[in-house]
């Protein structure tokens, strides 16, 4: 995939800061209810399943399958106007319906399809952020 330049940078909140701290270490963590074990992404102030406020963070494998995707051919995002790129919503193996967004990397955009098995990789952007991305799974 062509190098995308000048991506908008995340502005973390108290709730989301642990996610971005972990990606800097090339790990993906997802908020996890300590009472009923439900994952939540984006993170929430109370568990949607059992209403517990005892919420922690658990590392996930980064593996999953493409649930939805689009190929942006005419971008409206400042700094990314010249690119065509695939945006994926990946359903992580850890929980049905648990979706993480990423671009498809290490493959042409036409490789994107629903059901494609992918695995996470990491892209440094700016000085402070590392973005999880997805490449086609090895096997």
């Amino acid at each position: 995939m062509r190098q995308l330049v000048r991506r908008p940078l995340p502005v973390p909140s108290d709730l989301t800061q642990p996610f971005w701290d972990a990606t800097r270490e090339h790990r993906i963590v997802v908020q996890h209810c300590n009472t009923c074990s439900t994952f939540h992404h984006p993170p929430v102030p109370q568990c949607k399943s059992c209403r517990s406020v005892d919420l922690g963070w658990t590392q996930v494998s980064g593996k999953g399958e493409v649930h939805e995707y689009t190929i942006v051919r005419s971008s409206r995002v400042q700094g990314m106007e010249d690119s065509s790129y695939a945006v994926l919503a990946v359903e992580l193996d850890e929980q049905p319906g648990l979706l993480l967004v990423g671009n498809l990397v290490n493959a042409g955009i036409e490789a994107a399809r629903i059901g494609l098995r992918v695995e996470a990789t990491f892209e440094e952007i700016g000085e402070d952020f590392v973005l999880p991305q997805f490449r086609p799974a090895a096997s």
Partner: protein, 394 residues
Amino acid sequence: MLNIRNEVAVVGTGWSDVSRHSEKNLSQLVVQACGRALDDAGLIWDQIDGIATYPSTAGSGGSQEGVDSVGIAYFARTMGLRHLRWYISLDKGTVGHVLVAVINAVAAGASDYAVVWKAMHAPQGAFGRFASSSAPGDSQFTAPYGLANVVATFALPYSRYMSLYGMTREHMATFIVNNRKMTNLNPDAVFYTRPITREDYLNDKVVADPISVLDCDMPVDGAGAMVLTRAERAKDLKQKPAFVIGYSNSGNDYVGAPVMTLDGFRENSDRGARVLWENTGLGPKDVDMASLYDGFSYFPLFWLESLGFCKKGEAFEWIQGGRIELGGELPLNTGGGALGMGRLHGMPQLIEAVRQVQGVAGPRQVDGCEVALAHVGSAIHGSGLILFGKEADI
């Protein structure tokens, strides 16, 4: 069951002149739309005692009253209304949510003659541009990946639907072409004089797969308005009434994901549909015509399924063979919807449904239209479903 059947009626509708970029400013277009709606009803400005709108703007900058937005405070001040006693402005759910609030207020007697309008201004430049170097809030998980473009965001559930069920753009071409055929019979529509063919659609420029330019409603400068009153007053007025049978709301629920999903859409649209039928005691077989919101062309297909006109995964085949045409089983978006009339956040759907039960849709009139369904808005972001009826004793 909802306790509102036949208590309230829409007694007048009106459109401003609508164009891609108007020489008039937005407040002048609102005056046109409301003035025409009042004339239609045989009422005058001084009779208005309730006002309501959904004052969204197309741009992401601050709004400028009278230029890219006409909200209730500006309207009350500049239209010189002396007898206002009820008003509401909502920031979710498009005109669908607002109309439900108006219906409730008029039914309760909080307003005798209420005007609801929607004004839209098309800003110069490209629509939906994300012009920021930072991505706060929910956008921190999407904008850094280039998913900030409105079209790309809405493409996601549609991409999954097409893949799951084997739908292609050839199927959608049927809806697009029929919709434009209806548009070409509607003098209020911005594309009134512009026909399109299947080839135009199949060769259309893709913005974000699978959505192309003709799958999106075009930003315009324009306004639409409706006047409502209680049923017993409606009978004495100039225009035939469109009685409100009932309604439901849906939405405001991403169902836990950072992006829109097919399942999330359906959870909301299924609920909205189920509540509508429970509220009214009616079902798909009672509907003579449907106006389904088409800000994106796939929305009506998803709603046909949730409403029960066909099964999940069947809508793209169900619409083939003339079912949704004027003489078909369920005439759909007979005024051309948003795709034909421009991006007006629900007014096209509402006004056409009302005009069908009033019997004033001219060459687009569905014979014997007694019940019309209007769906307005986005399943996930908020929408309203309203049933209108011709006779008060349905």
